[in-house]
Amino acid sequence: MTADSRAVGATEELDLPEMGQWALVWRRFSRHRLAYLGLIVLVFFVVLSFGAPWLAPYPYDKINMNDNYSLPSAKYFLGTDELGRDIFSRLLYAGRISISVALVSTLLSSLVGIIVGAAAAYWRGVTDMILMRLTDVMLSMPTLPLLLVFSKMLREYPTLKDTFGDYLSVFVLVTILTLFGWMYPARLVYSSVLSLRETEFTEAARALGSSGWRILFSHLIPNSMAPVIVISTLGFGQRVVLEATLSFLGLGVNPPVPSWGNMLSQAYAYMLRNPWLAVYPGLFIFFTVLAINFLGDALRDALDPRLKV
């Protein structure tokens, strides 16, 4: 048997212990101390917000006019607002809405973006032209003005009003954030699939007789995911801010549903009376977004294919 002789140079022990892709990514990621901290902060906020019904000391809409504008105390952890509602409780419930809006719209935009980008790069030709021109057009539009106009339009729509009631504004926000957010992942997936199509491993799959669909799902899309994960993480942070901004401008989440943005909007009105009302929600937003940004930055490094080990 010649196997022994041909084994020369190949069968020596591999240098590193067996390690999957994700274990490798995790190892690189965990070197970023700030990102680690960011992850902990983020988990903390998420648990706090989604545990609001169990963790919050008061319902978010419990009005107590006798206690309005109270300062932090044993009774009201962070004080109360102009209607005497407990700020801390409201922050938790608001966080649940703010984080959900950002998360759901991020996931939806990524999904739409992946589909659009992959479809354009896969089919090329007319599909490519239509989809990518649309992406370019959407990217070159001034976003915030259009977001405001769209939001205004959708929230006046009678049938939607009937369906969603108080949560109409939440639905509208998720819709418009998705509508104006899919272009970034789409572009990434598009260019990534285009360049992956030219790689030798894709050609090898074709040479083996693999169908186009099979290549798309087993090679092209999985290999395009790293940058999408990074941009979606950062996009998640941006959407938390965007939710707050739109709510602040009155065209995001509207009371009675609490969100960090509309808490700030109300606080703005009573800013001169009690500036603290504006401080807390802002800090919550700030730390959440900061944590997400650190996370995204570390992921960018950890998922960078140019780096080894």
Binding site: V137, P142, T143, L146, F248, G250, L272, V289
Partner: protein, 320 residues
């Protein structure tokens, strides 16, 4: 190059047409009409009278006819009449009155941002992983994570309400309209707010672009020639790293308009952004439509200018 320009200008026209149609259609779906204010101020007016008015001004015609009418009007320089915030005044007049303020604000903010972001981005790239780099990096993370409007509110709370150093908003003090110093005092806080986010993101971008250039082989060639390090960085590094930065700045223009809406609203600054918000809240569609068109035009034009400038700076790019 000429072919390229013709193609791009053609595309630009199509794009503007598309945006205008899109916005026109969206706005037409929103309830509210030109005579809402009339109904509000004069409760005795009857539905029949409103209907007659609508017919007289052509508001009852089908959507596409109204759109074409609007297009023809725009081509003739007539952008419609405000029916909300500045009742009865021509849209062009309303917008032009505000244009100046916004351009000053945006210009000042862009200038300040570039002046700060460029050097610190370059410096932290050259001294990668130094404490200065970590400091700049951390600061830019703070800047990126800060919601702009909240930062504005905090500045007002501290520096305007608390310390009283700056006015809470507006564009000038009553009676001091021509005073340059007073104008600057009014600009200080909004410019700070607009610049913070820009400096944070732009300096990161400059840094990574510079780092990319520092890795290039030709930088090693320049050093091997015996050039002093500062010459290597400035002559060979900077020019190459600024090429992508230019593109980025062009793509940031839409962001500036968005920033203007937020900042002008927080600081009650009478510019286009504030006008836009007022217009949306008051359902003053002619004004909103006009503003969207102007913004879109500026954004697209900036993109085109950036692409052309790109070809000028980078000899490898040739458009044909």
């Amino acid at each position: 190059m000429r072919n390229y320009l013709i193609r791009r200008l053609g595309e630009m026209a199509v794009l503007l047409l598309l945006i205008s149609a899109l916005v026109f259609v969206i706005l037409s779906f929103v309830p509210g009409g030109p005579f809402d204010l009339l109904i509000f101020s004069n409760p005795r007016i009857t539905a029949a009278e409103i209907k007659r008015l609508n017919e007289a001004f052509g508001f009852d015609k089908p959507l596409y006819i109204r759109y074409f009418q609007w297009l023809v009007d725009v081509a003739g320089g007539h952008w419609g009449t405000s029916w909300g915030i500045a009742y009865g005044r021509p849209v062009t007049e309303v917008i032009l009155a505000r244009l100046n303020n916004t351009l000053i604000l945006m210009g000042a903010a862009t200038l300040v941002s570039v002046i700060i972001a460029l050097p610190i981005g370059i410096y932290s790239a050259i001294r990668q992983y130094s404490w200065a780099d970590y400091f700049v990096t951390s600061l830019s993370f703070f800047g990126m994570s800060m919601p702009t409007f909240w930062f504005g509110i905090m500045l007002i709370v501290i520096f305007a309400v608390g310390l009283g150093w700056f006015p809470t908003g507006g564009v000038s003090t009553y009676g001091l309209e021509g005073d340059i110093l007073d104008r600057i005092r009014h600009l200080a806080l909004p410019v700070t707010v607009l610049s913070l986010f820009n400096v944070a993101t732009w300096s990161r971008f400059v840094r990574s672009s510079m780092l990319e250039v520092l890795r290039q082989d030709y930088m090693r060639t320049a050093r091997a020639k015996g050039l002093r390090e500062n010459v290597v960085i400035i002559k060979h590094g900077l020019r190459n790293s600024l090429i992508p930065v230019m593109t980025m700045l062009a793509l940031e223009i839409p962001g500036l308009f968005s920033g203007a809406i937020i900042t002008e609203t927080v600081f009650s600054y009478p510019g286009m952004g504030r006008l836009f918000w007022d217009g949306v809240m008051a359902a003053d569609w002619p004004v909103v439509q006009g503003l969207v068109m102007i913004t879109a035009f500026l954004v697209i034009a900036c993109n085109l200018v950036a692409d052309v400038a790109y070809a000028v700076v980078d000899p490898r790019i040739r458009y044909d």
